[in-house]
Symmetry: C2
């Protein structure tokens, strides 16, 4: 049995808790959340399991670790490395390995090299492993693409799309893609940063470093998708002219040739949602996941499925490309 501590009991943390409860090889031993409304309550009740599971949500890791021993922490608090760094360091200094859904942690070596180095060194010193993963970054636009390249002798260019119909996703996701904003509100939110999907650059950097591509120029952009007809979701009523979501690109060129382009579209009622990878090379390949990989379930799955890989990896900050082949862990550990 692997003893798991759930750090962060928001939407994804709750979904992870439900999935953990279905795994015979896992014992949930503790939970941490900063929300006063959740502290002191039973994790099973807060996560929506419909029953108590004898795990009290604590307000801090220190408090949780007074009562229990854990093998690994599943961490789901924020997309931002600046927010999660002290949390990750505290986990690691308690000699616990951690798998986090923090998007900026999926491949921090390029965009946040100093933070990456601090986390890596602390993890090594304490003999534990840190991994950032999730559906994306973590799988669709990095791990999945890299795996597919393993049957290529040479590669001229890679282009990949993830087109997500956000109308069935969680409120925080619908909100962060700008649903219901006016064009002006959207532009102002973009300027303040923290708009749209986090992690596209991390996926791009993981592919670039793996393939050894050093770009002369990298361009990132983020555009709104505008409603042409009224749209209604569980959470929003959108009028024509309002924002329904985002289209984001990262492009890298060598000389004047575009070598790598990742495009992520997340908007309400997206047509023909899918994940597509096109590799031009020897051989050229075209892959598609019909309807795309469902985000929340996939994130929950990969976080849990990576536990055995993380527990057997060499200490340090690892990324998906550094660990053994990922697959669904349905058997005993």
């Amino acid at each position: 049995m692997v003893k798991v501590l759930q750090y962060g009991v928001g939407s994804i943390g709750s979904k992870i808790t439900k999935a953990l409860a279905s795994k015979p090889w896992i014992e949930i031993v503790g939970a941490v959340d900063s929300d006063e409304a959740k502290i002191g309550k039973d994790l099973g009740v807060v996560a929506g399991l419909g029953k108590k599971i004898d795990v009290k949500i604590c307000g801090s890791l220190n408090e949780a670790l007074k009562y229990v021993k854990a093998d690994v922490v599943l961490h789901t608090t924020s997309s931002w490395l600046s927010v999660v760094e002290p949390q990750i360091l505290e986990i690691v200094e308690n000699r616990l390995s951690v798998i986090s859904t923090c998007e900026e942690l999926a491949y921090p070596w390029r965009k946040n090299p100093e933070t990456a180095k601090r986390i890596d060194e602390t993890a090594r010193k304490n003999g534990v492993v840190v991994l950032g993963t999730g559906v994306n970054p973590g799988f669709v636009l990095d791990t999945m693409i890299l795996t597919l390249t393993s049957v290529c002798i040479s590669i001229d260019r890679i282009e990949a799309w993830r087109i997500v119909d956000a109308s069935k996703r969680r409120l925080p996701l619908q909100r962060k893609i700008g649903s219901g904003m006016s064009l002006e509100e959207f532009k102002s939110a973009v300027q303040k940063g923290r708009m749209g999907h986090i992690g596209l650059r991390e996926s791009f950097d993981m592919i670039a470093d793996s393939l050894g591509w050093k770009f002369d120029h990298v361009e990132e952009n983020l555009e709104p998708v505008i409603a042409s007809t009224p749209i209604e979701t569980e959470f929003f009523k959108i009028k024509p002219g309002q924002v329904t979501g985002v289209s984001q690109n990262v492009r890298g060129t060598i000389g004047n040739v575009e070598k790598l382009k990742l495009n992520l579209q997340m908007y309400l009622n997206a047509e023909n949602p899918r994940d597509t990878v096109k590799i031009e090379g020897v051989p050229s390949l075209e892959f598609e996941v019909k309807n795309g990989i469902p985000g929340d379930d996939a994130t929950v799955a990969i976080v849990i499925n990576m536990i055995p890989r993380v527990l057997n990896a060499e200490p340090g900050l690892r990324t998906m490309k550094d660990l053994k082949l990922p697959f669904a862990w349905l058997r005993a550990f």
Copy 2:
């Protein structure tokens, strides 16, 4: 620079040699083949590089190793473990890691457990790594499927198809799928064994063991595909009623429920060639490679791309699921 010795200079061995010659991080240092017509000749000439590369083809590994030191052997001689076992053991006893396209070596732990154990023990004793890989087994119907399962919380059933248009493939492949045979010749060839694609059971076993599925019943079958109209390839003229190829299945059931089905169709002028994976679970996924992954190029690629993974792995007989995430090795080593 990684020093590579090419063992087997047939069709795939020659294609690998050409690809190796294009890789700046690789030095081809030696070659072995049993064909008297090739022994003593320059590898570059025999492999179709159109020039000498100062590597003489030797009749035995012993002879080749008199003159050169190698870091890894790429081995492409036979699909059958009984044929390659002494070759693999000789390589390993010379303290060389080896990547082989031998289909039965891709996952020998179930069908050939004693041979697997002998190879594993000898590799460990000599501190080297043995890997069997290729497009299939090695990627399409095992590694690729497993990677996709990493975003699944639970899986009820997996079904996958690889449909290959054999009319563009090599003569040995067109021959081994029975092209041009009468139905009687095909049936008699099947009874003698050694007919059709080798390795489907190995792919099946790799998935089953990875997911921890213990089947109550496993069924394998091999059916001919019959021409309804005349077909002409570079090598064959097929009349209606003659065999154009094979359709092979492996199915595993638990209780009366079919959990895993792999289907491989290889026949001349196959319609809509493709690789398709359907996973029923949470979430359900459907994945397709348009036109399918081209066999020969992909085999050449994955054999070379796995070199860095093999050179950094723990000694022993390894399979694709035991090594770090595979991807195209386009950078320096």
